[in-house]
């Protein structure tokens, strides 16, 4: 699956495609923008900190949008903030990815019906690649979402558009129920 699985001959020569090398480099250094909005940001911080240690995935928060290739929208986006989010998104260099963390940025969350000042889903202003549900999502869930982004990166390549990559990813989708069932059977 990954680059390291490719066969290395005894002369230390690695035969692989450029796509593979590029994707491997990209997906193992996803730099998200440290962009905390609300309660979810605290869980994002906890994921970065000692116990969950995101840095082992090569994920390390950057303070500037110009140095980052992933935006984690962690928390409630309000009307006042919406335009700023778009600006920040536009400042990020291509290729860029957006992960929407938490119900609030997915769809308005607990504030969906009477929250006059809450944007009901960040996908109304910027395109979102991966949604992580939860209020707040556990750090494990966030890591899961980040791994999903890595998979998406892996599907891309030179001349392969994001749409095609998403399609490929959808074809490859696994049914979690099945996996869980198998794991349960194995442990039982």
């Amino acid at each position: 699956m990954g680059l390291l699985d490719a066969r290395i001959s005894n002369r230390n020569v690695l035969v692989t495609s450029v796509d593979n090398v590029m994707n491997w480099a990209r997906l193992s250094s996803l730099w998200p923008m440290g962009f905390g909005l609300a309660c979810c940001a605290i869980e994002m911080m906890a994921t970065n900190a000692s116990n969950y240690d995101l840095e082992r995935f090569g994920i390390f928060p950057r303070s500037s949008p110009r140095q980052s290739d992933l935006m984690i929208v962690a928390g409630t986006v309000t009307m006042k903030m919406a335009e700023k989010v778009v600006t920040l998104y536009e400042q990020m260099p291509e290729p860029r990815y957006v992960l929407s963390m938490g119900s609030c940025s997915n769809c308005g969350g607990p504030y969906w019906n009477h929250g006059y000042h809450v944007l009901k889903g960040v996908d109304r202003v910027i395109p979102v690649d991966v949604y992580v549900p939860g209020c707040p999502p556990r750090p494990e869930a966030l890591i899961g979402g980040l791994l999903k982004i890595q998979e998406l990166v892996r599907m891309e390549g030179i001349g392969v558009s994001r749409q095609e990559a998403l399609k490929k990813l959808a074809e490859k989708s696994v049914d979690p129920q099945q996996v869980i069932g198998q794991a349960r059977k194995a442990t039982a």
Binding site: M79, K80, A82, E83, G108, Y116, H117, L119, K120
Partner: protein, 166 residues
């Protein structure tokens, strides 16, 4: 009458003695004893007196909340006052004004706390505070239409081209 309410009543009596008809009767209920300022224009004077009088010393404003009394056609504020390091009494003061174009004297020069709270009350209810040093919206954007916490508030359809309702 619980001791705390008695203390509030005693504090009220001092204010009543000084301002007479400008303040209404004291409502000595056990949960939150309060009185109303009948003559709104006197509110700033009353506030200053409450803060500086040596028997009262209400030097700490805990809270200032805006309220919408829709049936009476009025808006109002409720201030919870008490004293830190002085006497242990507490009291709440209500000030009301007309719903359309009403105004209340600002007390932000008496208690700095009131500054942002009055801005918030204006933001949510739309009464003006006379003499406020920085009379702007605080939470909603400058160009937001309507006052969200009024009982008859209708949310706007779009804001800067973004759909607001779900």
């Amino acid at each position: 009458m619980p001791a705390a309410v008695q203390q509030s009543k005693a504090a009220y009596d001092i204010i009543r003695e000084r301002f007479g008809e400008a303040v209404s009767e004291c409502d000595a209920n056990p949960t939150m004893p309060f009185f109303e300022v009948a003559d709104t224009s006197k509110w700033a004077d009353i506030a200053l007196f409450m803060r500086d009088d040596s028997r009262l010393k209400f030097n700490y404003m805990a809270c200032l909340s805006g309220v919408d009394y829709m049936e009476q056609g009025q808006l109002g504020i409720v201030c919870n006052l008490e004293s830190i390091g002085g006497p242990t009494h507490k009291i709440a003061v209500k000030v009301k004004c007309a719903r359309d174009g009403g105004s209340i004297p600002s007390v932000s020069c008496v208690w700095h706390t009131a500054n942002w709270h009055e801005r918030e009350a204006y933001d949510m209810y739309g009464m003006t505070f006379e003499g406020h040093p920085d009379h702007r919206r605080i939470l909603c954007p400058e160009d937001w239409t309507g006052f969200p916490l009024r009982k008859d508030y209708q949310v706007q359809e779009t804001y800067h081209g973004i759909k607001v309702p779900y």
